[in-house]
């Protein structure tokens, strides 16, 4: 049985959900793409200047997956981003709330403080990079163990459902992580109990140095959903509107109690696995494949659709040209000034944020009793 490529489930509304978005919302999605891209560009530059420690797992070329999925969520919904999803932390709840820091899960200042390993980080820099979260902001705190938060998402969804809540829990995963045993256990559990858990697969064709055909033997990973008795959709991961459409369908399916689903977003990893791997990746990945994989930059795809829909002129589309370039070649002028300003605020805050006290290293092993 083929995967449900584009057919929305019966419960979904007939029109494409993205067609119901206003012009402002269309433009806002483009801004979110710029924001995610600029974060990556800026951090790569910071890293090269030696101002950062740890590894940057670039989300370059994959931004539409984060922007499109997050745009379909409510702030009460939970997310669990992975290593490649740093922008997700400050993009959760951002829809219609640009500049309203008290109404989003995590501010750009907090996320930058985490990246810089400073005490201003929500986790006081106790674990690195993407391993942060927020109980109040509804972001699960992940570990390094791939696919490890899917069972946590299932338990969270179970408890929410028991309490009569309507929150959906979304985990992000690379396609390579789907080979973990816990992936199967958790999705099966979620399927048995029809839990509102959405599993996003960011299929960027590579898991570190291993191509997809050595991870699983399917053309469309989404077909795996059939075995769990749940829907599996394939989304064009370069098209923020297609991602949004599939996500709206999955959210509706989950929220109405129908159960979990999988969305496979097809994309391509722009660089090495992490910035430490860029040079080797240039050797283990054929140049032709890389060029082809990066042909459809999500920012360019989004602009083209905006122009087609008459929401943007060609001239407006050409005003900022962040697409189709490598991070080092991209300049601040390639982004709307408000995007640059937004992130600059985060970086400046982080750099001024003090390092945590050494003694904190021995704290919080246990919650104190009595």
């Amino acid at each position: 049985m083929p995967a449900q490529k584009s057919a929305p489930p019966k419960t979904a509304s007939p029109a494409r959900p993205s067609d119901l978005l206003t012009k402002e919302e269309h433009l806002e999605l483009l801004k979110h793409l710029y924001l995610a891209r600029y974060f990556d560009v800026r951090l790569i530059k910071e890293k090269r200047r030696g101002r950062l420690t740890g590894t940057l797992y670039s989300s370059h070329n994959q931004e539409a997956i984060l922007a499109g999925t997050l745009y379909a969520l409510k702030s009460t919904d939970w997310i669990s981003p992975i290593h490649r999803d740093m922008p997700a932390f400050f993009m959760k709840d951002l829809r219609g709330k640009w500049g309203q820091d008290d109404r989003i899960a995590m501010t750009v200042e907090e996320v930058c403080s985490q990246v810089w390993g400073r005490s201003g980080s929500p986790g006081r820099a106790r674990d690195n990079w993407s391993h942060i979260g927020s109980k109040s902001g509804h972001i699960i705190h992940s570990t390094s163990m791939l696919a490890g938060t899917i069972p946590v998402a299932a338990g969270l969804a179970y408890a929410n459902k028991l309490d009569g809540g309507d929150a959906v829990v979304v985990t992000y995963n690379g396609e390579g992580s789907t080979a973990q045993g816990v992936f199967h256990e958790a999705i099966n559990f979620a399927a048995v109990h029809k839990l509102p858990v959405i599993t996003i697969i960011e299929n960027n064709q590579w898991a570190y140095g291993t191509p997809t055909h050595l991870e699983y033997p399917l053309e469309d990973f989404a077909r795996r959903a059939d075995g769990y008795g749940i829907p599996g959709w394939v989304a064009d991961g370069q098209d923020v509107f297609d991602v949004y459409d599939k996500m709206v369908a999955a959210v509706e399916y989950a929220r109405t109690g129908a159960g979990p689903s999988i969305i496979e977003c097809k994309t391509f990893r722009a660089y090495g696995h992490g910035d430490h791997d860029d040079d080797r990746a240039a050797r283990y990945r054929p140049t032709d494949d890389v060029n082809k994989g990066r042909e459809r930059d999500p920012i360019a795809v989004c602009k083209r659709i905006l122009v087609e829909k008459g929401m943007m002129t060609q001239a407006e589309a050409a005003q900022y040209a962040a697409e189709g370039k490598g991070a080092p070649q991209t300049k601040d002028e390639d982004f709307p000034p408000e995007v640059v300003e937004y992130l600059k605020r985060g970086v400046e805050y982080a750099i001024k944020s003090p390092l945590p006290d050494a003694a904190e290293g021995a704290m919080w092993v246990f919650r104190e009793t009595n």
Binding site: P122, G123, R124, R126, D127, H131, G133, S134, K135, I140, H141, T143, S144, M145, G148, T149, I150, P151, V152, A153, A154, G155, L156, A157, Y158, A159, N160, L162, D163, V169, G181, V182, E185, A186, N188, F189, V192, E360, M363, W364, V365, F366, R367, T369
Partner: protein, 337 residues
């Protein structure tokens, strides 16, 4: 069957019933508590610890999970994140290895990673221990794995009274607590005892002196408590007075009770059915050296299982595990040092 107040023998309860009562009482008092495990609902658990629980508290709070230890332990974390107290049953403690990552990396570190933002009120419990012909995968005492993983409390009750009081404390603790239930003790008649009518809690981290003595301290827990008590009796016949300490709680550890005893007896033997290398017995010996070396008249020693799996056939199993005779023999060696 009717039970009357003037027939005290019938009021005695076994270790399993004590555990069951603790879990049931907490489920009743705490509407935010959920139980999850394999076959714990419809069946009532492989050993019956959760018998009647699902009928009383409902299938949504007493979950028959698929055979997926990682999903069980991981979903318990998610439930705790949503504010629930969770009791997780491992059908046998041996199978906990299949949920290992979720326990040591996800659950045990959650409070630490979040600088105290999130607590994990989760009890992981299951039948453990050898000496019962369970063979390699139904006999383990694998507590050392978890004692070496900061963020998890570990307890091991040896009597019905302790089983109930400690289980209730565990279910009220805001941290993950791993409970080694000794399956050989579940229905052991000799240790049945009356339990108080009124509610009681035994705080974690308090050892219990099971027998007082002056010549040597035997530090142990679990079913080895009974081996040590038998050995103490035999030692008494030979004029050696042994004190038996039942740790009950391994983390937190009651160092004070150990040290006070060693100050009195000046000799110590740690007895533990877990394997020797990097086992908890070695840790106790090290602590004794750190805390009261100057009070020792002989080296602090340990008696453990050999560094082998637990084999099946009876002679093999008994060969690798500590025995009463070995405890007597080693104690005499220490006393005559």
């Amino acid at each position: 069957m009717s039970v009357t107040a003037d027939a005290p023998a019938t009021l005695k309860k076994n270790y399993l019933t004590a555990l069951k009562e603790a879990i049931d009482e907490e489920m009743t008092q705490n509407p935010n508590m959920i139980c999850i495990g394999e076959d714990i609902g419809i069946l009532g658990g492989a050993f019956g610890v959760t018998e009647g629980l699902q009928a009383k508290h409902g299938a949504s709070r007493v979950i028959d999970a698929p055979i997926s230890e990682a999903a069980i332990c991981g979903s318990a974390v998610g439930m705790a994140l949503a504010g629930k107290t969770v009791m997780v049953e491992m059908q046998f403690i041996d199978f906990i290895s299949c949920g290992f990552d979720q326990i040591v990396n996800m659950m045990a570190t959650y409070h630490y990673r979040t600088a105290g933002e999130v607590s994990m009120p989760i009890v992981l419990r299951g039948p453990a221990g050898a000496y019962s012909g369970g063979a390699l995968y139904h006999s383990q005492m694998n507590e050392a794995w978890f004692l070496n993983s900061p963020g998890i409390k570990v307890i091991c009750p040896s009597t019905p009274y302790d089983a109930k009081g400690l289980m209730k404390a565990a279910l009220r603790d805001p941290n993950p607590v791993l409970v080694y239930e000794i399956k050989n003790l579940y229905r052991m008649r000799d240790i049945e005892e009356e339990l108080p009518e009124e509610e009681y809690i035994i705080p974690l981290g308090k050892a219990k002196i099971r027998r007082e003595g002056t010549d040597i301290t035997l530090v142990t827990y679990g079913q080895n408590v009974y081996h040590c008590l038998d050995a103490a009796q035999k030692l008494a016949d030979q004029g050696v007075s042994a004190e038996v300490i039942d740790l009950r709680s391994l983390n937190p550890l009651d160092e004070e009770t150990i040290v006070n005893s060693v100050k009195k007896t000046n000799r110590v033997l740690v007895v533990n059915e877990a394997p020797r290398t990097c086992g908890f017995a070695g840790e106790i010996v090290a602590r004794v050296n750190e805390l009261c070396f100057e009070h020792l008249d002989a080296p602090a020693l340990r008696l453990t299982r050999m560094d082998t799996p637990v084999p099946w056939a009876k002679p093999l199993e008994l060969h690798v595990l500590p025995s009463v005779d070995q405890i007597v023999e080693t104690s005499l060696k220490i006393v005559r040092f």
